[in-house]
């Protein structure tokens, strides 16, 4: 006897479902929107840094060094008399660029590897995942530290290091849905029709994997920015006089007894960006994961 379960209206495309989910997430969990908004503000501040700055961020002003916040220097000056506020804005650029490029490249590479591993399965999958798990189990900071130490501290190598630490996560995330989708009938059909593997992977598997991947991307961007700051703090970041948040805290640390604000402002900046990204990513992830969703 035909017995279909509850209503089955025409199935919506994955994209439509995704957008619907996003819509519901932002409406139901206001904090997610707050996170997105804050992050957007930071991005805008970084983009318009030169316009928003009050001083040249590299200009030294020995006469005015180590001053507290004032009308002239919104957040005070550092040990070289440079304006902290302007340096903060330019530091945002560095953090966002390094984090952004690292995550985007990790996303591309990791997703590709994950889909390949999931699609082909068997020995390929085993080997890839073994490597992946080893990479994954290394603390991100240590791994990044090692890579930058080996290659030398500059922006490019920072990006490479942080990208490397993020790839295994994306591989994992991309592989899981690939394995599920691979078993579906329409993939069988594609193969029967003679589609080439790469075509199946790009046109049929990738779109389904994307939503999971994008959700995690914001969370890992938060981690990437955190790692970048930590590496800069250790001294492995972009070299001075360029301004990086971690580097600013490092310099501020030397003067911490008398001038704590040198460390506080950049510290708060890092916190703000990472926190807003976490809010955003958390909300997105809750929306996708059925267990933590509301009934």
């Amino acid at each position: 006897m035909t017995s279909n379960t509850e209503n089955i209206p025409m199935p919506k495309s994955n994209r439509a479902l995704f957008l619907e989910q996003m819509n519901r997430t932002f409406r139901s969990n206001k904090l997610t929107g707050v996170g997105a908004a804050i992050f957007l503000l930071v991005v805008l501040a970084a983009i318009f840094a030169p316009l928003l700055s009050t001083h040249d961020h590299i200009d030294q002003n020995i006469l005015n060094r180590l001053e507290g916040p004032s009308d002239q220097f919104l957040m005070g000056t550092d040990a070289y008399g440079r304006d902290i506020y302007s340096r903060l804005l330019h530091g945002a650029r560095i953090s966002l660029i390094i984090g952004g490029v690292a995550i985007i490249s990790a996303m591309i590479i990791g997703t590709a590897i994950g889909i390949i591993a999931g699609y082909y399965g068997g020995r390929t999958d085993d080997v890839i995942m073994q490597f992946n798990d080893i990479l994954l189990s290394f603390p991100t900071l240590i791994l990044g530290l090692i890579v930058v130490a080996m290659l030398g501290p500059n922006m490019q190598n920072m990006i490479i290091a942080i990208s490397l630490t993020s790839i295994p996560g994306f591989t994992r995330i991309a592989r899981a849905p690939t394995i599920v989708i691979r078993e579906r009938d329409f993939i069988e059909a594609c193969r029967a029709l003679g589609y080439r593997d790469w075509r199946i992977m790009v046109y049929h598997i990738l779109p389904n994997v994307l939503s999971d991947v994008m959700v995690m991307a914001s969370l890992w961007l938060a981690t990437a920015i955190r790692t970048e700051a930590s590496l800069s703090f250790i001294g492995l970041g972009v070299k001075p006089p360029e301004a990086t948040w971690g580097g600013m805290i490092r310099e501020g640390f030397e003067n911490i007894l008398d001038n704590p604000w040198l460390s506080i402002f950049p510290g708060l900046a890092i916190l703000l960006v990472v926190f807003s990204l976490n809010l955003l990513g958390d909300g997105l992830r809750d929306a996708i994961d059925p267990k933590t969703r509301e009934a």
Binding site: M1, T2, S3, N4, E6, N7, A295
Partner: protein
């Protein structure tokens, strides 16, 4: 087809009724709005009787059982009824603490998926003995001893050595026996069995059914057996209630139902059972789908798939009415039931 059990044509004596449900309505909040999954159904259950609740997935039969036991999650669910009478108690008015005392004690429930219904980190011995610990206040040794006897009773081989094993070490059929042992522990008046054999293979299925029958005869308890499989119903039920879209559309003693399936839905269900004793060329199926929980049309919910529908079917929802002299076979259908149609039509149009 299996042989029919001895269905008793018992007297309609009220003292025999162990569970009386009147106008049960269970609703769920789905994306903000409340929709009824069980729509004002009424039925009763007598001592030592097996009542089968039959219907497709989504017709509300499981929800009915959960509603009786108060297991409907309250954040998004609401149970309303005129009464849910268990003997002398109206379960409607009881506090959560009082309901807890009823559950596993006077009413037990068995669930469909033996794989997931047992706690994987607790031994099965403990899970069987648990109700005895909490309801009968036994100490550990007594409870374990009794639990062991129960495992024997449900025919688990080498029960004593398997007492301390974990659910994943048992097969599906064995796990279901464990569930039954758990349900029987406190000698309940009623067992609610929600599709207990659906997840099992056919051989195991018949073993479990035979076990349930035997246990029921021994203990004198009543059984509400929920299933979508009419074939199973024939071998275990005394009375059958057919549900569709949250309503009971036909209710009768099992012999009578099989001899004279009256509601068009029941008839269609009967026709679609694969039978080995007849030569049938094609499998009959019912066209259309069950209306989803939020979109039940006015009038008879089966009208769109019926084939026999009349204009009145689209306007008014039929009520259950007896079609036999003994008043035990009831049907809710304007066309096949026994109503004063002209009077009703006037009422509908006027």
């Amino acid at each position: 087809m299996h042989t029919m059990p001895n269905s008793k044509q018992s007297r309609e004596s009220d003292t025999d009724i162990i569970l009386d449900v009147r106008k049960l309505r269970t609703s769920f909040r789905i994306t903000g709005e409340w929709h009824a999954a069980v729509r004002d159904i009424s039925f009763n259950l007598r001592r030592n009787e097996t009542l089968a609740l039959v219907g497709e997935s989504g017709c509300g039969k499981s929800v009915t059982a959960l509603s009786v036991l108060g297991l409907v999650p309250l954040q998004n669910g609401r149970v309303e009824a005129e009464r849910i009478q268990l003997g002398e108690h109206n379960l409607q008015g009881l506090s959560e603490e009082e309901m807890r005392e009823i559950r596993g004690n006077r009413i037990s429930m068995i669930f469909q998926e033996p794989m997931t219904a047992l706690n994987p980190v607790l031994t099965i011995g403990h899970q069987v003995a648990e109700t005895l610990l909490y309801h009968r206040k036994m100490n550990k040794e007594e409870a374990n001893k009794t639990a062991l006897e129960l495992l024997d009773k449900v025919k688990i081989p080498s029960a004593s050595s398997r007492f301390k094993e974990y659910p994943h070490q048992f097969s599906g059929g064995m796990r279901q026996r464990v569930m039954i042992a758990m349900a029987l522990a406190c000698k309940p008046d009623i067992i609610l069995a929600d599709e207990p054999t659906t997840a099992l293979d056919v051989t195991t299925q018949s073993q479990i059914l035979a076990l349930l029958n035997e246990l029921k005869q021994d203990s004198g308890m009543s059984l509400i057996f929920i299933t979508h499989n009419l074939g199973v119903v024939a071998s275990i039920a005394d009375r059958v209630a057919v549900m569709y879209a949250g309503k009971i559309v036909e209710i009768a003693y099992v012999n009578s139902l099989f001899a004279q399936p009256t509601h068009p839905y029941t008839e269609a269900l009967m026709l679609s059972i694969p039978r080995s004793d007849r030569d049938i060329k094609t499998l009959h199926s019912i066209s259309g789908q069950v209306p989803p929980i939020g979109r039940i049309p006015d009038g008879c919910s089966f009208a769109a798939r019926c084939g026999l529908e009349q204009p009145i079917c689209r306007k008014l929802d039929p009520t259950l009415k007896p079609i036999d002299v003994g008043l035990t076979h009831e049907v809710a259908c304007w066309v096949r039931g026994d109503y004063n149609l002209t009077m009703i039509e006037e009422h509908a149009n006027g």
